[in-house]
Subunit: 371 residues, 2 copies
Amino acid sequence: MTFLTPDPRQTALAQTLAATVPFVAPEAMESARGAPFDARLGANELSFGSSPAAVAAMQAELGAIWKYGIPDNAPLIDALSAHYAVDSACFTLGEGIDGLLGNLVRLYVASGDAVVTSAGSYPTFNYHVAGFGGVLHTVPYKDDFEDPEALIAKAREVGAKLVYLSNPNNPMGSVHTAQTVQDMIEAVPDGCLLVLDEAYTEFAAADTRPPLDPSDKRVIRFRTFSKAYGMAGARVAYGISHPSITRSFDKVRNHFGVNRVALAGAVAALGDADYLMQTVQRIAAGRAQLVQIAQDNGLTPLPSATNFITMDCGSGGDYARALLAALAKRGVFVRMPAIVPLDRCIRVSVGLPHEIDVFAERLPLALGDIA
Amino acid sequence: MTFLTPDPRQTALAQTLAATVPFVAPEAMESARGAPFDARLGANELSFGSSPAAVAAMQAELGAIWKYGIPDNAPLIDALSAHYAVDSACFTLGEGIDGLLGNLVRLYVASGDAVVTSAGSYPTFNYHVAGFGGVLHTVPYKDDFEDPEALIAKAREVGAKLVYLSNPNNPMGSVHTAQTVQDMIEAVPDGCLLVLDEAYTEFAAADTRPPLDPSDKRVIRFRTFSKAYGMAGARVAYGISHPSITRSFDKVRNHFGVNRVALAGAVAALGDADYLMQTVQRIAAGRAQLVQIAQDNGLTPLPSATNFITMDCGSGGDYARALLAALAKRGVFVRMPAIVPLDRCIRVSVGLPHEIDVFAERLPLALGDIA
């Protein structure tokens, strides 16, 4: 990895980019520490696993893995269309929200174009903005919430092509009401598109979701099968917007990019409403446990509308980073925000009951390690 | 799909692109005709299916689909490194060769940059070149072979960033010797990179593959689990080149883009050398049958180093297109080259024995339909 010399044949832009990985995988950390983690609570995965119906559908489709996938992804697009009662032309599918964000930025952002997000929000969006030569402008969080008014003001000030909001928010777990988000949509400046990342929306109350209105060209919304549907490894997510936006993805996307088995699984997962409801209840119960554990140990849990609890460790980033390292040493994988002042926190996913027990046991030990 | 109006917020390049699908899926054709095909012989898939070891590995990994994939794809990269005895830094993984080609073009081709390929060769490469604003220059096939000397001469003439060769070739099935390809590598002009697409190489004789030499920065080679390994729906392929090239993909790729289950399947498929050998033998036998069927019906089968037989129908493109349509009407899905003079041919994949029987039965009927 050390002998990466720039290739003078590459584009001027490509030569300026760093070869970065947005996230280090827990598998790589396990390999580095020479032992598996006892609790995998860092990637906001659904440790309960996906719906048995989804697993069964994928199992059934494995025998057809020799066939190419379906470039228009019709089985899932049609299912989504029925699920939301929204025209199928208003959906586009991709290899996770990460993949969709890459294609979105490619469509909207040319070299030097301005983009706005919150300092400390989802880093893979920033990775794609940099990757297409966009210029990122950030505004601070306000009391651990993304700040729609400041985001819009900045977008207006810099003439942004895209402004990003995640609702509920990762990494803080905070959520705005539907009305606040709708007000933000109404305020999007001409020439700008609101990127509304709703990866965690199924964990949140219904009144945090403005109604879907695909006649509105000011916003594209992204949802995923990686979080509440428990299929992070499958790589299936979707965008919902006006067809003049969703269909333009067909200009640039990898048309056969979605795994055939994953597509079948997502259709089944979408159809299993009972399992989703159970999931949401289980996550709520797990959140309550994590809140208690945080309080028992003198940390301040932030309110969460997601499948994780962000815990304010009450001191600066160095302290939280030390706690993170101490937890990892004791077999607990968690992550934390990267940016001041968010980095006073650690972010703990709701895992399996025994993993929460492990966290309850190791957290005081890790706190002792760094005292 | 009809109400796609350009979005003025998008990049100048994006606004010029057409929302195209490189290939219409057989599933979409079946849905349009209201009945499934009796023989699926159009997409060069491995109808025998993938190795039972690969299917078992995928089945075992399904329970972990809730976990994100592994961004450095280490399990497969390490297996490839051992398989080829080539340093792991010389590999990069992607969502099919289609995905890798997209990222390759993104890294090398800025708006207006020249790219060279053969007229009638792989359309998805051309799709990506257009998608990044590259200017495509083509040279004709020579006696149904891609013409390395003409490709290099054109690359030199236009100052190409990339020159593409598939060996064996799709859609004609022809293959050059290792020496011819090595001579082409030696002749790549300064400032240009040879894109050597070896999607079908496992079906070809060993003396069509120049030795892997990852110290050579003039070429990147692409191979896939979609063809001989029978995992087209999984979306796993790899590039092999000098690390300064392969590692630069880390600047732009979707790091979590490869499906976790697919990765496990590919590792197992790579390890099942016996199944690959059986596959190659089965395909050779199927090719011989298709050759006989073509000859029995007055078509001229071209020599093939792939899992398909391209059949010269002895007349122009209109005739071959009519035959294609007649075959589809009679329940046989095949494809054909799009460009004169290649479009005098149809391209028939080796399918299952009963599908070859269907083809043998329906081909004379379809020929009768258009006589």
